[in-house]
Amino acid sequence: MSVIIVLIGFSLLVAIIFLILFIRAVRSGQFDDKYTPSIRILFDDESKKEKDKKHGSS
């Protein structure tokens, strides 16, 4: 049965890692604006491509 103690410890550890990640996400402001990023992701690629082009030409 002692394996359960290890497993419990491990599962708690994983859960705590997720909790810390969540707190970090909130702290960095990811939950302050839940709308704009959903739009931003749609044109991010395109602008990068153009930047690359610019870098290439210069």
Binding site: I5, A15, R27, D33, T36, R40, F43
Partner: protein, 802 residues
């Protein structure tokens, strides 16, 4: 992209930049047509900077730049002004935050986040679309002024007001709530997992001491929930008890404390499983309810005062040089230049030009007032027409408009004086539960002292009003969201319940019941031949007077441009077109011999070549659907109409609201406020609906102040709710919806009492096991959440609100 081009080829010419209809295709670059030079210049800026992606994300995303005058932003170099916008600054970089109400689509986000292509001193720019704010980080080779100028050049002029509060506190509060929910959810889930042996009734012998380990782990996990996540409830309960009030948080806090202590006792002294899963679950669900309740409309500002209406900078003439200075630095004797559409910030004397001042914002009078040189102009009016030069005679803090705000109603915080239903009930609830717990444990005392203690705590645990606490936030929160989707934005969820208590509705007239700037025009006189129409339309085209504009819109005809034109202030216009002399305006100007009683309506007379043609009678234009809405409203509420205008519209108003309603005219802002206060003294609950500054005091005084707005990004005075004009006809539905929400709340109270009744049965008989508590608690909470949200959604669907 193709679709825009198709549109511009097909019969209507659509501006490539802003999507407005173009009069002709004179203004163009290649095959792209623009409605005005402003739009064209924005396009060429973007085109030159390789930023035409802007136009491929959404069709015609631009903001029209019809007013082409280049604004002068010199005042932004003033250090006091700078600090209002600059969030952070060191010797290399600065970060500024602007509010840009014009942003409306994904193209806007794209362009505002690619500002660095227009100026490489801009390091990064980030949009928060819901708050309509833009934060720009730039190195100090650039300046605040340069950035604002760039933004203005592409049509996104930031809102530059004297006072626009940015609430960073709000987002901190929200973050805290997320932390609390995250921690409560984490602990709740793990405690549930560790309680599994208990749920499966594995006997302690089989678990080989693991159960003790699990129980102690549970205690460890529950500590942050009790002391951090649940702290709000404990603190709030303590505060309200200190004030000798029993609010909903008192029984909740009681439940949490009893659950925690009893669990500790069970685990430490009796090696039994505790109720920690119930406790953490309870806190988790309550916090979720709180999150649901915190729906706020970030982009809207409900706390505006007069300062938000003032421009930040004003053009002044000093030593024959025009420059801009911050409004606050205006001194007595300064020469100010006020252009078309600009607000007059201080009481002053007109020096140059002819003033046509629109005071509708301050007084509610629909038509502008003419001012001659030497006349005193009070602050708050807007100049319509050409630029004027004025000399200030008072400081900004002493002006007429500012004095409006010295009323004490504005200095005190508006508070909810009525107690919500949940709080009302919880008072009795707490005493009943405590009484029940004492009585039943007292009876058990005679049989078994141990059970007596168990019964006492079990009753407090079971009766913890989680469902009671959740029903209001979920019902009202959902109602608030549904109303928001229909363009009715309330400041907070408590107002849904307040709406149900309203007995009297007070309307402002101008801008609320009527649409400002639109009129109902009737023509009496000789038949208007196409030629006459042509002449009249051409004559009024030159005038900036609102009445001229109304007539211009009313007549359908071609028109021409004439140079022989004169506007006589207070009289009318004189114009010569193709040899015909056209006079439009007062009877005195048009035809001196003719005298006719004109009544109280606004009448514009017209003559061509000294021959009297006829008159235009201009009435207020009432909102469409007003008659339907008025019929429904007056059956249920007492209606009062307060107007800053004269009596001329009384008859028309009576058609809508009947003679049983109250009508008062020539009301000053103070009169309106006093009237509402008088109604409140007669124990009425008053809802005030208004629009401009002139209603600000009344909106503040009323129990619920709702400001109506043609466009939600427009200014609205401080209020409790903003109703977009296009949803005006839905107003009765909103009121009914609020009433229905209250019924749902009552029904969910009944459901939660049923659960409590069952729970109490087990508790009093001494049979409440941890597993039973762990099942009963979430089931009652979840069923309440489902019941309230589906209940409100179904109703809204039936009424066409979603």
């Amino acid at each position: 992209m193709n679709s825009t081009e198709d549109k511009s080829i097909s019969e209507k010419l659509i501006c490539y930049h802003c999507g407005d209809e173009c009069p002709d295709d004179k203004i163009h670059i290649d095959d792209k047509i623009f409605c005005c030079n402003g739009c064209k210049s924005v396009f060429s800026i973007l085109n030159n900077n390789d930023m035409c992606t802007y136009y491929s994300i959404s069709d015609a995303p631009g903001i029209t730049k019809k007013e082409e005058n280049k604004r002068n932003y010199d005042f932004l170099d003033d250090p006091d002004i700078k600090t209002k916008f600059i969030d952070f600054s060191d010797d290399k970089i600065s970060k500024a935050i602007f509010s840009i109400p014009q942003m409306h689509c994904s193209s806007c986000i794209w362009i505002l986040e690619n500002l660095n292509r227009l100026d490489n001193n801009i390091l990064s720019s980030q949009v928060n679309f819901l708050q309509k704010s833009l934060s720009v980080t730039y190195n100090n080779n650039s300046s605040l002024k340069k950035i604002v100028t760039i933004l203005d050049s592409i049509g996104y002029e930031p809102l530059l007001n004297l006072e626009e509060k940015r609430d960073s506190k709000n987002s901190n509060e929200l973050r805290k709530l997320y932390y609390k929910i995250g921690i409560a959810g984490f602990c709740f889930g793990n405690i549930m997992m560790l309680s599994f042996p208990e749920y499966l009734s594995i006997s302690p012998q089989d678990s080989a001491g693991l159960d003790t380990l699990f129980n102690y782990l549970n205690i460890l996990l529950s500590i942050p929930v009790f002391f951090y996540s649940g702290s709000d409830y404990l603190v709030s309960a303590y505060k309200s008890l200190k004030n000798k009030i029993v609010n909903i948080d008192v029984p909740i806090a009681l439940g949490i404390i009893v659950l925690f202590i009893r669990s500790l006792v069970e685990i430490i002294f009796f090696s039994n499983a505790g109720y920690l899963d119930s406790m953490t679950g309870l806190v988790f669900f309550l916090l979720l309810g709180k999150l649901f309740q915190t729906k706020t409309y970030d982009a809207l500002n409900f706390e505006r005062n007069y300062k938000s209406y003032f421009p930040l900078g004003i053009t002044i003439r000093r030593n024959n040089n025009e420059t801009t200075i911050p409004v606050e630095k205006i001194e007595i004797g300064d020469r100010l230049i006020i252009r078309n559409g600009e607000l007059i910030p201080v009481d002053s004397v007109l020096i140059k030009g002819s003033g046509t001042i629109d005071y509708s914002f301050v007084t509610g009078e629909a038509l502008p007032i003419n001012k001659e040189q030497g006349d005193i102009i009070y602050a708050g009016g807007k100049q319509t027409g050409g630029a004027i030069e004025i000399e200030s005679i008072k400081e900004i803090s002493q002006s007429y408009l500012t004095r409006l705000w010295n009323n004490k109603i504005f200095s005190k915080q508006k508070e909810m004086n009525s107690i919500s239903l949940a709080n009302q009930i919880s008072k009795y609830f707490t005493f009943i539960v405590l009484g029940l717990a004492l009585i039943s444990s007292g009876i058990w005392m005679f049989y078994d002292t141990n059970t007596a203690m168990n019964v006492f705590t079990a009753i407090l645990i079971v009766a913890c009003p989680c469902a009671l606490a959740l029903s209001t936030p979920f019902t009202s929160g959902n109602a608030l969201r549904i109303m928001g989707r229909n363009n009715f934005y309330l400041r907070n969820v408590d107002l849904i319940e307040e709406l149900t208590k309203i007995t009297d509705i007070v309307f402002d007239k101008t801008g609320t019941l009527t649409i400002s700037g639109r009129a109902d025009i009737k023509y009496f006189g000789m038949e208007l031949t196409p030629k006459k129409k042509f002449l009249i339309k051409s004559a009024v085209r030159n005038s900036t007077h609102p009445l001229s504009k109304m007539i211009f819109d009313y007549i359908e005809s071609d028109y021409t441009i004439t140079e022989k034109f004169d506007e006589i202030a207070g009289e009318g216009i004189y114009s010569e077109i193709n040899g015909s002399i056209i006079k439009i305006g007062s009877l005195h100007l048009v035809d001196k011999e003719r005298f006719e009683f004109s009544g109280d309506n606004t009448v514009v007379h017209c003559s061509i070549n000294s021959e009297y043609i006829g008159k235009f009678i201009i009435n207020n234009y009432y909102r469409d659907n007003l008659s339907d809405l008025a019929k429904e409203l007056k059956n249920k509420y007492s209606i009062h109409v307060l107007s800053g205008d004269n009596k001329s519209e009384e008859e028309n108003l009576k058609k809508f609201f009947g003679s049983e309603s109250t009508y008062l005219f020539d009301q000053s802002p103070q009169d309106k406020l006093d009237y509402i206060a008088a109604l409140q003294n007669a124990d009425k609950k008053v809802l005030m609906m208004g629009d401009g500054l002139n209603d600000a005091g009344a909106l503040r005084q009323s129990d619920i102040g709702i400001s109506i707005s043609e466009d939600k990004s427009n200014f609205s005075p401080s209020c409790d709710g903003i109703l977009e004009a296009k949803s005006f006809d839905l107003f009765m539905k909103f009121l009914n919806f609020a009433l229905y929400s209250k019924k749902i709340i009552i029904a969910s109270f009944i459901i939660s009492f049923v659960y409590n009744f069952f729970g109490l049965y087990f508790a009093i008989s001494g049979n409440l096991t941890p597993i039973l508590a762990a099942i009963l608690m979430p089931i009652s909470s979840i069923s309440i959440v489902i019941f309230t949200t589906t209940g409100t959604n179904l109703y809204a669907k039936k009424r066409g609100l979603i």
